[in-house]
Symmetry: C2
Subunit: 140 residues, 2 copies
Amino acid sequence: MAQGSAAHNIFDWTDRIPEGPLDPVLQALVRDIIGKVADKWTMLILEALEEHGTLRFTDVGRKVGDISQKMLTKTLRQMEADGLVERTVHPVIPPHVDYQLTEMGRSLGGAFCGVWLWAEAHHDQIEASRKAFAARQAEG
Amino acid sequence: MAQGSAAHNIFDWTDRIPEGPLDPVLQALVRDIIGKVADKWTMLILEALEEHGTLRFTDVGRKVGDISQKMLTKTLRQMEADGLVERTVHPVIPPHVDYQLTEMGRSLGGAFCGVWLWAEAHHDQIEASRKAFAARQAEG
DNA sequence: TTCGATACATACCCAAAGGAGAGTGAAGGT
DNA sequence: ACCTTCACTCTCCTTTGGGTATGTATCGAA
């Protein structure tokens, strides 16, 4: 059975009406945003800036912890492009660059807050589930 | 300058007190959960199951949209291990497998709800920011 | 005169993510 | 005797993520 007969999706649903009043363009846009914004480093940097206010480059790295310089630069640039952070360059030597959340960045931080709290509240339950699942796999 | 002189992190902060009363173990645990749970496919599947209740394998794929069978299987398995979804196998032929959210899965869905709303509310603003950023880069 | 500080850019490399397509197995329809 | 269905699994293969190392500019201090 040739599954990928259509375009690129395995499930050929072209003969069905997907939903109804859902705008596929908006759907795609939101999905794209979710994909970029629900990134590990984005979340971590967001939290660091939310907690400490304005930080300069190396300080962001220190607050986040185990992040390489490359990913720090890359993620900060992406966040700047998306309008989540504001980058302020002071033309001095040695260079001094400040990063702070924009209004939109702060609002995203608030939206993520629920996920953080959820993770803190359920991490032991997740551990338990994983162990139970592993045990099930080992037996059956 | 050899940046990676310490372990694996570029920023050598071993001579500083990191924060204070923050438990590094819990910090790591939560970070791990965030990394796995704040995954694009996890979020998408979670939303599909939240919206439609119980779905079988191919239906989850259809609701999510552009997901390959491989990632669907993988993500569903991970979610099952984490205790977010319950997998029910009906031993019939052809096979019939149902997926539904657990209580914990539903609570995570609630936590993510804020992010979805945020994405829907700010996608146009993000687009504008990206265009402005690109224009700034183009000029110099 | 060389060093160190700061905020990167660039290049090289490896590992993981993820897509495409084929295969599987057993029952029921034609 | 064949085809179809469903929920996968398995094997390639390409793309992306991400770490490491090094370079750069400039100024003041040692």
